[in-house]
């Protein structure tokens, strides 16, 4: 699964571009995070089929939305983590969660790189790395 960041200008924010891209490409896009209003904004979508990513990006770009693949990864250093849970309530997508043993786990696929957990972690066990 790969993630694409879409940046909408104010002019494009009122057009149904996301829906039209899904309809025309037939690829299901899972919205991980959306912050858009009449002044524009950003949407992060996840694409299940890796091979279709370049096509999706091209389609958005041809319709005036700035699209780029997010080549980032969030890393949880299990050796440093003490399972305090300070990050849990800050995580907007529950990418960070407890397992039944109250040990912290990170579901990288759900992460939208908001970085709230990075600052909140009292022992600096979380970081975001660029894959490039």
């Amino acid at each position: 699964m790969r993630k694409i960041l879409l940046r909408y200008s104010p002019e494009k924010s009122s057009e149904p571009i996301l829906a039209s891209v899904i309809k025309d490409t037939g690829v299901l896009l899972n919205v991980l995070q959306a912050k858009v209003n009449s002044r524009g904004g950003e949407i992060i979508v996840a694409v299940e089929d890796d091979e279709r990513v370049p096509e999706i990006i091209r389609t958005f770009q041809s319709r005036g939305v700035d699209a780029e693949e997010l080549k980032l990864t969030t890393v949880l250093n299990r050796d440093a983590c003490m399972d305090c849970g300070a990050c849990l309530s800050l995580c907007p997508t529950k990418a960070l969660h407890f397992n039944p043993e109250y040990r912290l786990e990170l579901d990288k696929e759900k992460c939208v790189y908001c970085k709230l957990c990075i600052e909140a972690c009292p022992v600096r066990a979380l970081s975001i790395l660029s894959l490039e």
Binding site: M82, D83, C84, A86, S89, A120
Partner: protein
Amino acid sequence: MRKTVQEINEKIKRGEAVVLTAEEMVELVKSKGPEAAVREVDVVTTGTFGAMCSTGAFLNFGHADPPIKLGGGEVYLNDVPAYTGLAAVDVYVGSTSISRTKGLEYGGGHVLEDLVSGKEIELIGKGYGTDCYPRREIRTTFTIHDLNQAILCCPRTCYQRYNAATNSRDETLYTYMGMLLPNYGNVTFSWAGVLSPLSRDPEYRTIGIGTRIFLGGAQGYVISEGTQHDPERGMGTLAVAGDMKKMNSRYIRGCTIPRYGTSLYLGIGIPIPVLDEGIAMTAGRDESQLKTNILDYGVPSRERPVVREVTCAELRSGKVELAGKEVPVSPLSSFAMAREISETLKRWIEKGEFLLSEPVEPLSRERTLKPMRMVERLVRVKDLMTKRLITIGPDESLEAAATLIKQHNIDHLPVVEKDRLVGIVTSWDLAVSLGTGKKRVSEIMTRKVITANEEEPVDVVVRRLEQHKISGVPVVDGEGRLRGILTTDDISKFAVRR
């Protein structure tokens, strides 16, 4: 059925004692009742692992040659200031002391963790020189093995229960209860719940001064009731101490609480001897019977308003309901580590490596937390604010605004419509509007105005001015009516008078 600590210790020595963690005890009491639990169980082990800001350590370095009197001088450990108001070569380093160069990224808590891990620590010391201690400066490195003693001391820990936190304001707060998101966006709490030692023995029948405990991976002791011990409100605390040289860095972790300070996560476990049915009952209480309050940390006062009462079980579930909305919860103390500590202590006792002790003295049961005695009258916004109101309407011209600002020699012009504050225009706003073609006040005014209330302490508003990088706030009442204006000029005039 009644048992004594001596009888239980005999069983421990014979390897026959039945030990349960507090979580296991809760299940047993639920299924068989407290009476059976006394017959079947000898010891219940507890555990807690949270930020314990009052933790620190007394270190003794031995003497240099020629000797130096660090006492009354200055000492930095990895650039973190240590307290030197002790004898010549003793210092105290506390977990909240902050690095001179790294700020909140490294503090006394990190020094303590590094010490316990066996890492080298840099010591810079300054003395004033005496006949017996002629040396004035020293720079060296040491590890915990080089020290004569390293005594970990925590004068307040093991809160019997502690309030949970949320934030009503429209900005994120950075508190000792962690990051609190705007508009009741999350709840945080720091409580080991069923594993919390004093919650298992709320009448302090078995835990007292002299009780042997698990402390930082070694054996330590309860040395006193803790500071702010508040048994009358069910918020008892303990003071503990132990030999740091025997401790394990898994249970001593330096930490940074974001934009608040440095601290130390410390692991503590206390065994509860199951002497009778009463103890079995309290040791077997589940988290639905443990209650605390969620307080609004958005109110910067000692008396923070209670948002609602909550059970530990709800907090543990990861979400609570606030005003009809489901709000995510962060524990701040590690339940997994607390459980690990209770299991470790259980193993120690089962193997006969850890014997129980009877308290030398009981903890006080009649004490309540007193506030600080304040002898100076608190300065409030209403004491300093300018009450003579110069205002303008949103439809008036920029020329009219400029004239008012010049006439009255002011920088802030509140914009008022029908008695209500609707915006603010500053001399800066007027300057940057030059040449833009804008004509009306409403076109250039700031609509989202940072305000203050007459009753707020001035210090609180000063912090708000700093945070928003502004030089004045209109003072409004509950209905948004303008009552005055408080500017940095008003505050500095007062500071000079004082």
